[in-house]
Amino acid sequence: MKRALKSMSVVKRLCLVLAIILLPNICAGCWDRVELEQLAYVTVVGIDRDGPDGVLVTFQCVIPRMLARGQSGGGGGAAPVKPYTNYSVKARNVSDAVRLFEIKQPHKALFKTSTVIIIGEDLARKGVIPSLDFFTRKPALRRSVWVMVAEGKAADILLKGDPSPEIIPANNIRTAFQRRQDVTLTSSVDFGQLLSKLERPGVDPFMPEIKLAPKLSGGTAGQGETSTQDQQKDVKEGEKQVLEIVDFGVLKLGKLVSFLDITESRGLLWLQGKTNSGTITVPARGASWASLLVSSKRVKITPVISQDGFLFNIDIRIEGYVSSVQNEAVDPTKPEDLGRLEEEGEKAILQDVMAAVKKSQEVRSDFLGLGEKIYETDPDLWKEIGEAWRDEWLPNVQVDISVNCKLKRTGLAAGPVQPIP
């Protein structure tokens, strides 16, 4: 009897194992089959505010067929084919917008190819979290998608942005981030970082800012009169504007509070661990300029908690080399001249960082992550002051910045080139 029971359970267990093996097959099946050409490859999503409650979502999709044509026959001055198209959808929220988007055009939206989510300024000031909620829940969208804030409307960036020199604007943005990160011009922020910063105590996220560059007179206008029409608005090719990714927009508790200017942005970047190099241009003996190329950087921020308040020791150590000296009187081979250049470099960095700290105190947004340092050193204290940190404590913290710049090399040439009379 016992044996019979046992064998039954073995059979049951075998059935269970078989079921476990076979069930995953139902996860995917002919019923979810989508061929590659039946997909809409969304590369950029732009989200704007529309009315008090609605959103205006712009999807920029690649048309792969055009992409191939552009690559193969693009050489000989043929009429440029625009390999992407924009769809703008007004909806109650982003999820709704995606549904309407799929109604508007026949293909299924594929968000895997998305490079960037651009949030319009209006919406960002209202708060980024509600509109991003859809993307936090959707498994198809990766956490590595970059997030940017637009100056003005995100839709304008997508509709008017000039894709050149690449053929689709998303590639421009991608290239910009991949290259410029090294030279302390800008830093990418991906979706995962944004979410983790939003949920961490004592730190506010920042996002790179994208805007349409002011039009240069002359320029490309009037060239491309043969215009293709955009889905939503008629934007002539000639009216396309160059996209600029500079500076940052900073958030406070999930809402955009301000944009940084270039000095503040660089100060922010110096304090970030991510960027390792960059060029500092400093006065060389007053009159002319010298450029220093930073090759490595170490930043240490230590909070000192005392009765009087908070003091942050910011210690920046930089190594670099001389990339250009425009003053013939300065000879980098001489230690005193090199020392002077180092001092100038230190001063420039100090100014940048001070500006960033000031801005942080001014807009009461802790995008430098100073509060997090306190949370790390004294979590109990943070529990008391955390609530009021941004508005009461942050504007009053003291900062002690020390910059140490070491120039190791002078490039290929030792001194400046001297014409022999």
Binding site: P24, G29, V62, R65
Partner: protein, 551 residues
């Protein structure tokens, strides 16, 4: 009143009898012929000619010799199977000389036979036979039979010699470095090629005859005292079980002695290279060499062996082995993974790739699965046509096929360019597998995988891999697990699986072959710097001569 019916035999017995009767029909009854010849030469010859039905290639030369031509003799052989030179030199000439000799004393009929046997025939290999079927067998294998009047004994002179292909370069196994001889269709040549490599009396050739009509000689080759006797006995017993009318190629045997008859994977290795056979014998395996085919079988065979080429052992540094495993995976799974990713899991493809894949698929009228299947099938058409056509036509097939499949179908928008890349990459990878038979299996299992991928996506592929691995793990080749030494993990023996260790590291033979002597070579043979007392004064003479020359 009624006759009591004869007690019927069991069903099996009756069935066996029926089968035997049907099989025997075209053969001369062996029982009937198992009788000695008579004494009369004429009767014997008549009987023999009658057996062959006056076939034109049966040559009967009757002559008489002796001082007074008193002894009548007849030479019987098959034209084309025997060496006519030897016949005239070693058989006919001595008779003529004897007849012309000075010795005029008549030869007694009783003494004729021993005289001819012992000193008249000047050929090395002479045998005696008395029974009709024996003589028949000898004559059919190319010996000459000498019938002598007045005796029922028949002298057999082994003058086998037929037009055979020379020992040439192997046709089916190409290589760069290694010995260039290969087996041909003559069993003796083949055994000699093996013997030339393994010079030990312990190399044994156990010969069997299989095939009621072909009577094919089959040699089971092993090294006595090294090969596991149980393995050898198993091979022989499996071979003995075969009862068929003909064995024309090693493939016939393969089907009969395979452990699992229903698997696409080949459970025996076959080769036409004597060096490969010798290598296998030295590992403790058994070779089966078959007359009339250059392909010998090696047993047991394991899966990893099909990714080993003999050349791997000749080139000391070998990284290609790992690539072959990669090629195996690509050949098996690449098309199905492409179909799965492109129809179900587009999120898994890198952005740039998915865009160009989509651009290529634009306007293709079929779903990816149909596209892949049709490409695979047409590739197999092409390969088969190229292999079967005469060489001059074959090239044309190749060119047209490549143009049609590669260029025109893409230009016509029937197939996407990436699919062409995928299918041809998989095809090239399948050609990388050195063993032709097992690359067949790999090409075959692509199709179920494609269907699984088309129906269920990646889970389907994984499920298929599971079943495939279960199947492979269940296979055995003469008692050795097919995935050895990976699946019954013997990590110490992975020196020859994913990469080939240097020769001095492979001190032991594969353990599951149960060779009697497991050690292959003396340990510690890793080459090092010149040993002994190295230093200046080591070889003063050479040093001094060097100095003299400099001076």
């Amino acid at each position: 009143m009624f006759r009591k019916p004869r007690r019927p035999k069991t069903m099996e017995e009756r069935k066996q009898r029926q089968i035997d009767a049907k099989l025997e029909a075209p053969h001369p009854d062996s029982q009937e012929l198992n009788i000695p010849f008579g004494l009369s030469l004429d009767d014997n010859l008549a009987l023999f000619k009658n057996l062959f039905g006056n076939a034109s290639d049966l040559l009967v030369r009757e002559f008489s010799f002796g001082a007074r031509q008193e002894i009548r003799v007849a030479l019987v052989y098959i034209d084309g199977l025997s060496d006519t030179n030897s016949i005239s030199e070693a058989i006919l000439k001595p008779f003529v000389y004897r007849s012309l000799s000075d010795d005029k004393s008549p030869i007694l009929p009783e003494s004729a036979y021993p005289m001819i046997r012992d000193w008249l025939i000047t050929f090395g290999s002479v045998k005696e036979a008395a029974r009709i079927n024996e003589v028949l067998d000898y004559v059919l294998t190319g010996c000459a039979a000498l019938f002598i009047d007045g005796t029922s004994q028949v002298l057999i002179v082994v003058v086998k010699g037929w037009k055979a292909r020379d020992v040439e370069e192997p046709k089916a196994e190409a290589f760069v470095r290694g010995p260039r001889d290969s087996f041909n269709e003559t069993l003796r040549t083949n055994t000699a090629l093996i013997r030339r490599r393994i010079k030990t009396p312990r190399l044994r050739f156990d010969t069997l005859k299989i095939g009621r009509m072909t009577k094919t000689d089959i040699c089971v080759v092993y090294i006595h005292g090294l090969t596991d006797p149980a393995l050898k006995d198993e091979v022989i017993s499996r071979l003995k079980r075969i009862d068929t009318d003909g064995i024309l190629e090693s493939g016939y045997l393969e089907d009969f002695i395979k452990d699992n008859p229903w698997t696409p994977f080949s459970l025996l290795d076959r080769t036409e290279r004597p060096d490969k056979v010798a290598g296998a014998l030295l590992e403790g395996r058994v070779a089966i060499v078959i007359d009339t085919t250059p392909f010998a079988l090696l047993v047991p065979a394991v899966f990893s062996e099909f990714l080993q080429a003999p050349e791997d052992y000749y080139e000391s540094f070998d990284y290609i082995r790992a690539f072959r495993w990669l090629g195996l995976i690509i050949a098996t799974f690449l098309p199905s993974v492409y179909v799965a990713l492109s129809t179900y899991h587009q999120e898994m493809i890198p952005t740039g790739l998915v865009l160009s894949m989509a651009a290529g698929r634009e306007g293709v009228p079929f779903p990816a699965l149909v596209e892949a299947l049709s490409m695979e099938i047409s590739f197999d058409f092409l390969r088969e046509a190229g292999a079967r056509m005469p060489r001059s036509v074959g090239q044309a097939v190749g060119i047209i096929g490549a143009l049609v499949l590669g260029q025109a179908s893409v230009a016509a928008g029937i197939v996407s360019p990436i699919m062409v890349v995928i299918v041809s990459l998989a095809a090239v990878a399948s050609f990388m597998i050195p063993n032709y038979s097992s690359s067949h299996a790999i090409r075959f299992i692509r199709f179920p995988f494609l269907l699984l991928a088309g129906a269920f996506g990646l889970p389907g592929i994984f499920w298929g891999i599971l079943v495939l691995l279960l199947h492979l793990a269940s296979l055995r080749s003469f008692g050795v697990p097919y995935l050895y030494p990976v699946a019954p993990g013997v990590p110490g023996e992975w020196k020859d699986v994913f990469f080939k260790a240097p020769r001095w590291m492979m001190d032991f033979r594969p353990s599951l072959l149960r060779a009697r002597k497991i050690r292959r070579q003396a340990p510690g043979q890793m080459p090092g710097p010149p040993g002994g007392s190295s230093g200046e004064g080591d070889d003063p003479q050479i040093v001094s001569t060097g100095r003299e020359k400099q001076g």
